[in-house]
């Protein structure tokens, strides 16, 4: 059982592509080997900036022999047919056997395909893996036609068993597989001959390459912790950056440096963003000063001067970057001091939001108007919400956000604080962008909530108005995210607002923004627009709730009810219905309801009348029928008040109580009797079942 070792040695692979590439290499090679009939033990993939490697333990030495028996032509078939069969099987006539079936005699070929060596299968699988590797972006180089993420220089491919290591014969675009790799680009560039997994990892380590990204990450983490701890400092954890840096070094050397005192007054987000985005530095906090005072950088080599030159160079670059940031910060603060955030926002009139949608200033005006409408519904002060909306996008005009777009909102908060605006307004500048993703926090202060909802609803409405809806995987304006943001902001704050009504109202405001082209069709177009948008939100809600474990048909059953505009209520109703349907009573009630509804619907269609005339209990013929009358009266008197009090659990419980009487009724009674009076009365009774249940939820839409 040999071990397989593969290394694809190339010029520097982008760090962000390495994790996917490791997984793809492992999956494609092991799938291919399995498809070729080879068994195997554990497989592990590794990457460094210059190599992608895979180790597979205990590979089968060869694929098993395979027996095949093939049915040929009939014995009396034309000679040509028999010759053809012999050609296709590669056999002679003596090898064929004659078999019988019901129709007569025919030739049969029995063949044994010998197993193939692991070497042959590996060579085949690796070549096709290299040629079809799913890099997100690949390239050609020199005069060749092979594509790889960057020029591929060498292929190491060996099988190791008790006899030693052998190279798997393989050549791709002029690159022949060998048993040789190279160490660190600068510290150990000489070729290294490799005899197996452990030998490979050990020799690479001696050649200043840590093969395993986990090992490198752990080394960086531990070194950074030691260096910071020694100075009484603490590292600001950043898992994404750690992964990226791990993919940029083969021999991590962790260095700690100081941020110039001139720059420490900058907001920590500015320091962190500048250092992370431009320099790939980790931020280091001084807990005593409560500031970011140092940085950690990871070099890719050791030097005689212990990294002093490298650190000095990095520090110089950082100083130049932070001088830029400080320049932006001071400039922005001067603008805010002179003209306020509102003054900073003036420039938004010159910034196009979207070619068809006018300027950012027009957008802000729409958001401000909508925020005023929403404010009282979420417990926010109307004027505060409007003011917050008017300044929330001002920082898009700041020099700092111009340089670091990811700081939008954060800078707005700092500049609002600098201006002395109400803290709730300052926080709204930052929080109104949230939630940015499924895991992100949702705004919870009333002013922030009002502006966040207004911003998202406006974005949805205007892009719907110009027919820029998300399609398939394309959602360039992140409208699905905006939709989910609206839903989560409402649900997680338990807001009781008529979301569809707000959308309708806002779509009417769009008229003033001249978004609708033809005035004659305006009113109708606005109604359709609002409906489409509400439908989209309901679809997003279904997706969201499905992740929370609520079935889409259960939501449909609740969406069909009046008051579905109130998402909080809608979800509570859906949860109660979902819980009910999980019980045996609920499931049986649903069946009873469907049966009643089907019989009634068929009778109504056949008779061309609606059986909505109240049934008469005096016409009840059996005990079960009388009992159903009583049960419906009881349930009806409970459900009404429960629904009025929005106590869905109580309403569902009352409805579930109908299960036994309905079952007993269907058991004891034939609906379609010859006595037309009794039949009519029973259909009217079924109508009461439908009526009472539909008060709670539209059970017709529930599947099952």
């Amino acid at each position: 059982m040999p071990d397989l070792l593969i290394e694809l040695f190339s010029e520097e692979i982008p760090a962000r592509m390495q994790p996917r590439a490791r997984a793809d290499l492992q999956r494609r090679v092991t799938d291919g080997l399995r498809a070729g009939g080879l068994s195997m033990g554990a497989a592990t993939a590794f990457s460094t900036p210059r190599r992608l490697a895979l180790a597979v333990e205990g590979l089968g030495a060869e694929s098993p022999a395979r027996h095949e028996s093939r049915k040929g032509p009939r014995v009396d078939a034309p000679e040509a047919a028999i010759e053809g069969f012999l050609r296709s099987t590669g056999l002679t006539r003596e090898d064929l056997r004659i078999k019988d079936d019901r129709k007569g005699q025919y030739y049969s070929a029995s063949m044994t395909h010998p197993g193939r060596s692991a070497d042959a299968i590996v060579a085949e699988v690796l070549e096709s893996t290299i040629r079809d590797f799913p890099w997100p972006k690949s390239m050609r180089w020199g005069s060749g036609s092979l594509r790889w993420v960057r020029p591929l220089h060498a292929i190491l491919c060996i099988l190791t068993d008790h006899d030693g290591a052998r190279v798997v014969p393989l050549e791709v675009d002029g690159i022949a597989a060998a048993d040789v790799t190279r160490g660190h680009r600068f510290m150990a560039p000489e070729p290294v001959r490799v005899a197996g997994h452990d030998d490979y990892a050990a020799k690479l380590r001696r050649a200043h390459v840590l093969l395993d990204p986990e090992t490198r990450a752990e080394h960086i983490r531990a070194e950074a912790a030691t260096l910071t701890f020694a100075q009484g400092l603490e590292l600001v954890e950043d898992a994404g950056l750690l992964e990226e840096v791990t993919g940029m070094v083969e021999w991590p050397v962790v260095l700690i440096g100081e941020i110039g005192a001139d720059f420490r007054h900058l907001p920590p987000e500015v320091l962190q963003t500048s250092m992370r985005e431009h320099q790939k530095f980790f931020s280091v906090r001084d807990p005593a000063a409560g500031q970011i005072t140092h940085f950690v950088t990871v070099a890719n080599r050791e030097t005689e001067d212990g990294g002093a030159t490298i650190l000095a160079g990095n520090q110089r670059v950082l100083a130049a970057r932070l001088a830029d940031a400080a320049f932006f910060w001071d400039n922005d603060l001067r603008v805010v001091r002179d003209a306020g955030l509102a003054g900073m926002a003036d420039g938004l009139a010159q910034v196009t939001f979207h070619a068809k949608l006018g300027s950012q200033a027009e957008r802000v005006a729409r958001i401000a108007a909508l925020a005023r409408e929403i404010a009282p519904l979420v417990g926010a002060d109307t004027d505060a919400a409007e003011t917050a909306a008017r300044v929330a996008k001002a920082d898009l005009q700041s020099a700092m956000v111009g340089e670091f777009p990811e700081l939008q909102g954060v800078m707005g908060r700092y500049y609002a604080e600098a201006e002395g605006l109400d803290p709730e307004i300052a926080r709204a500048c930052e929080m109104h962008y949230k939630p940015l993703g499924p895991g992100d926090e949702v705004p919870d202060e009333p002013v922030s909530v009002a502006v966040a909802l207004a911003d998202k609803l406006d974005t949805l409405a205007v892009f719907w108005a110009i027919d820029e809806k998300p399609t398939g995987s394309k959602d360039p304006y992140a409208l699905r995210r905006a939709g989910l943001g609206v839903i989560r902001s409402v649900l997680e704050n338990g807001l009781r607002i008529p979301i569809g009504g707000l959308i309708r109202q806002h779509c009417e405001h769009l008229e003033h923004a001249a978004l609708m082209k033809r005035p004659d069709e305006d009113a109708w177009a606005r109604i359709v627009l609002a409906q489409n948008l509400s439908f989209f939100l309901h679809e997003r809600l279904k997706v969201h709730l499905r992740e929370e474990g609520i079935r889409h048909d259960v939501i449909d059953a609740c969406l069909a009810m009046t008051g579905a505009d109130d998402l909080t209520l809608l979800v509570r109703r859906a949860e109660a219905l979902g819980d009910l349907l999980k019980t045996e009573d609920g499931e049986n009630l649903l069946q009873g309801f469907k049966r009643a509804n089907n019989i009634l619907t068929q009778a109504e269609e056949a008779d061309g009348v609606e059986y909505s005339f109240g049934p008469d209990p005096k016409l009840a013929e059996t005990g079960a029928e009388s009992a159903l009358f009583e049960a419906l009266d009881a349930a009806g008197s409970e459900i009404g008040p429960a629904m009025a009090a929005e106590d869905f659990t109580a309403a569902m419980r009352a409805m579930a109580g109908l299960r036994a009487p309905i079952d007993a009724f269907f058991e004891a009674v034939q609906i379609n009797t010859d006595n037309q009076t009794v039949r009519r009365n029973r259909l009217n009774l079924l109508h009461r079942i439908r009526e009472i249940c539909l008060q709670v939820a539209d059970l017709r839409r529930v599947e099952g």
Binding site: R150, P151, N300, I310, G313
Partner: protein, 307 residues
């Protein structure tokens, strides 16, 4: 091989060493192109020669103009006129990275003391209809070069692929020479009878051009020049392949000159702030169309590999 022990002492020495290094390594050392360009890539020795099958190897200094980067000579790092050193080798040699690292050693950057890194950076020039994959090269965290394998130029797949290097000379020299302000960097040898700083040579021109770029340039005239260049480019390319005497002469280079002019005029208009966000894309598209047509024409010439 150039002297590796000592660092260059001046801006010009750094340039001379790069030229010497790449001359030894097989490049034709060309002179700057005599038109205003935004980057060394625009030189026909790169843009056009990256097309077609014929091998090519050249290196040159190219003055580059970025009107929007003008700061009247005050900013320590930003200039509206600066120098790029450009290397192009077609097909890209297998040891192109090693050759590049050798050039850093030639200008006194010893990789035993420094941390040299190849960091993902894909290059794209929307105006040239060109893109490639490669890296920005970091030396101790500072970007010192752009390293690109051309994949497409003028809308054509590059086959063979050219390897392209761009060194931002001022920034690189400031780093090597330890200068904090570009204007204070020695241009010639500090011990020369007449030592000159970069500022002695360029401070005044930076001020003059910054004023002209930002405040004075006649935008109406520039718009006309843009249209003229565009029209002339089309006229040149529409001429028949053969002249009156029946000689087949496709005028790819004269047409490409007009493309270069249009591109630079667009940059000037941009600096004057007269191009809106929407118009911007349209202008870039017009220049790209010119570049594409010139590339098509070049492929019909001898240097472009046509018989």
């Amino acid at each position: 091989m150039a002297d590796q022990a000592a660092k260059p002492r001046s801006f010009q020495e750094l340039i001379l060493r790069l030229q010497g290094y790449w001359a030894v390594n097989g490049c034709a050392i060309l002179q700057p192109y005599d038109l205003e360009v935004g980057a060394g890539t625009f030189h026909p020795a790169t843009t056009l020669r990256a097309l077609g099958l014929r091998p090519w190897a050249a290196a040159y200094v190219q003055p580059s103009r970025r009107p929007t980067d003008g700061r009247y000579g005050d900013n320590p790092n930003r200039l509206q006129h600066y120098y790029q050193f450009q290397v192009i080798m077609k097909p890209s040699p297998p040891d192109f990275q090693e050759l590049y690292l050798g050039s850093l050693r030639a200008i006194g950057i010893d990789d035993a003391r420094h941390d040299i890194r190849f960091v993902e950076d894909d290059w794209e020039s929307p105006t040239l209809g060109a893109w490639g994959l490669g890296w920005e090269v970091w030396c101790d965290g500072m970007e010192v070069s752009q390293f690109t394998y051309f994949q497409q130029v003028g809308g054509h797949d590059c086959h063979p692929v050219s390897g392209e290097l761009t060194y931002g000379l001022e920034r690189l020299a400031m780093y090597v020479l330890g200068a904090d302000h570009v204007m204070e960097m020695p241009f010639n040898d500090p011990d020369a009878a007449q030592p000159l700083s970069y500022g002695d040579v360029f401070r005044q021109t930076e001020r003059e051009y910054s004023r002209w770029n930002f405040e004075v340039a006649d935008t109406d005239a520039l718009l006309r020049h843009f249209e003229d260049a565009e029209a002339e480019c089309a006229r040149i390319l529409n001429a028949p392949d053969s002249d009156a005497a029946g000689r087949r002469i496709v005028m790819a280079h004269p047409a490409y000159d007009q493309c270069i002019k249009a591109s630079h005029i667009f940059n000037l208009l941009d600096a004057r702030g007269v191009i809106s966000v929407t118009e911007r894309q349209a202008y870039i598209g017009r220049v790209r169309a010119l570049a594409r047509n010139c590339a098509d024409a070049f492929l019909r010439t001898e240097a472009g590999g046509a018989a």
